[in-house]
Symmetry: C2
Subunit: 243 residues, 2 copies
DNA sequence: GAAAGCAACTGACAAAAGTCATCTTTTTCG
DNA sequence: CGAAAAAGATGACTTTTGTCAGTTGCTTTC
């Protein structure tokens, strides 16, 4: 399985996207939040609309709550010292952004930017931390979750350090396929700019484009504008695995 | 500050290294473990000696406890699919290994190998998980800790993806300096093989050696056998920062 | 203390990745 | 709509990184 992000499993598309559902899904696999807590959180939340390209929060900012993605997709990136952005995570429906910062009581380490029009729920810090301090099951679920994310992060470190750009580009394509699926024509549903793909892979945009062009010539993918269709999934898998 | 590992702050060298201290230090900045719990853990622990080069645990293994480092240094690495080892962390006195796996209830993601002769305390799973389930302050300290490690891991991802081998070699030298200090002659106290340095940096041993040779010619470092002395700390800093 | 084995090192070359300039296509917006 | 801006694409070139083959030198061990 192509691990380029410390992400959660793909969401069941039939799942509802109400806020109650979203916080349960991300933070609370064990359904450990009590009814009253959900109600309290639900009442406190503020819904916000963010347009494509707009910033949700920036690295270094102090967050006073967490954002739950109701709809749309956001990239979480960090500016490296050489001036290039590195995309560390892609958050979509049902995922929560900012909880790491709240828990660690640190400023945000990443910037969040909307990749398309989004609907967000904002849950104030107080509601979030209250659940942490008062509900042991909730903390345990959170802890387990973080421990799992930490493993995935280690995997990403290994992949970034050891895989070639070729392999990592194959990886992001497979990732987009398993996590966001394809449209009616077989094209990857989540359309990223070449520049964003390069920022995920950690390479220059030109090399990213060249790599995609090469994949196209080799019959691994087809493209139409910025849209990409995977035509030889197995070959991409093998490329990723280094066969 | 050079972040090549998701590690903790350097340990105060005057701190005692009894087990009570070690688990407090790593997992329990808030001194949240109660006296009786410490006693119970202390009684249950098993001390073990591991010689240089020996394995402590291997990735894929199921751990039935955590290891606390009493003395010596261990590398935590993962074999990438292309057959190369990537060192993800260096654990030294006072640090705990294996807790991530226990918390996530997953097999070990990393292998631990002693870099020199070591003294370890083994704390059985039951003692560890009991503290987790019964002591809310303990979990909170752990959670906060994990959240912080996650931030560091993200930083490492960015560094591996965006920095050159040159910069990353400078980074590990600075890291070794701040975390393990120097001996009487000014040489870095923790002596790694060129191969291990390469495995931290994520490059080939030959390139790692060449880079060190270049640093030597440029007057950034001096070497004597495998020992390394930093002669121009500022220049290494600037290199790391990409100035 | 000699042989074996390993780690450090070097040269020569190949492959991968980055950069700069330029051109084309698509998208955005007044 | 049409101009301007942004994104995509490609060529030519440089730099970085990887690989293979081999030498040197240290250290371990019988």
């Amino acid at each position: 399985m192509a691990v380029l992000f410390a992400n959660f499993e793909p969401m069941n598309p039939h799942e509802e996207s109400r806020c109650e559902n979203c916080i349960i899904r991300e933070l609370n696999a064990l359904r450990s939040l009590k009814k009253e807590e959900l109600k309290a959180i639900s009442d406190a939340k503020v819904t916000r609309t963010v347009k494509k390209g707009e910033s949700i929060f920036k690295e270094g900012e102090k967050l006073n709550g967490v954002f739950c993605v109701r709809d749309g997709v956001s990239k979480l990136s960090k500016l490296s010292e050489n001036g290039k952005d590195q995309i560390v995570k892609i958050a979509s429906k049902g995922e929560v952004m900012g909880q790491r910062s709240l828990i660690a009581e640190e400023a945000a380490n990443l910037s969040a930017i909307a990749l398309n029009d989004m609907q967000l729920c904002f849950i104030p810090k107080e509601n979030f931390t209250e659940s942490i301090s008062k509900n042991p099951e909730f903390i345990q679920a959170l802890l387990k979750n973080m421990a799992h994310e930490l493993k995935l992060a280690d995997d990403v470190i290994v992949n970034m350090a050891q895989k070639t750009v070729n392999q990592r580009v194959a990886g992001i394509l497979l990732y987009l396929d398993t996590h966001f699926g394809t449209d009616a024509d077989g094209y990857l549903s989540l359309v990223l700019s070449r520049n964003d793909i390069a920022d995920v892979v950690g390479t220059a945009t030109e090399l990213c484009i060249r790599t995609l062009t090469k994949f196209k010539k080799e019959g691994l993918i087809e493209t139409e504008g910025k849209r990409i269709k995977i035509s030889d999934h197995d070959a991409l898998d093998q490329l990723w695995d280094g066969v």
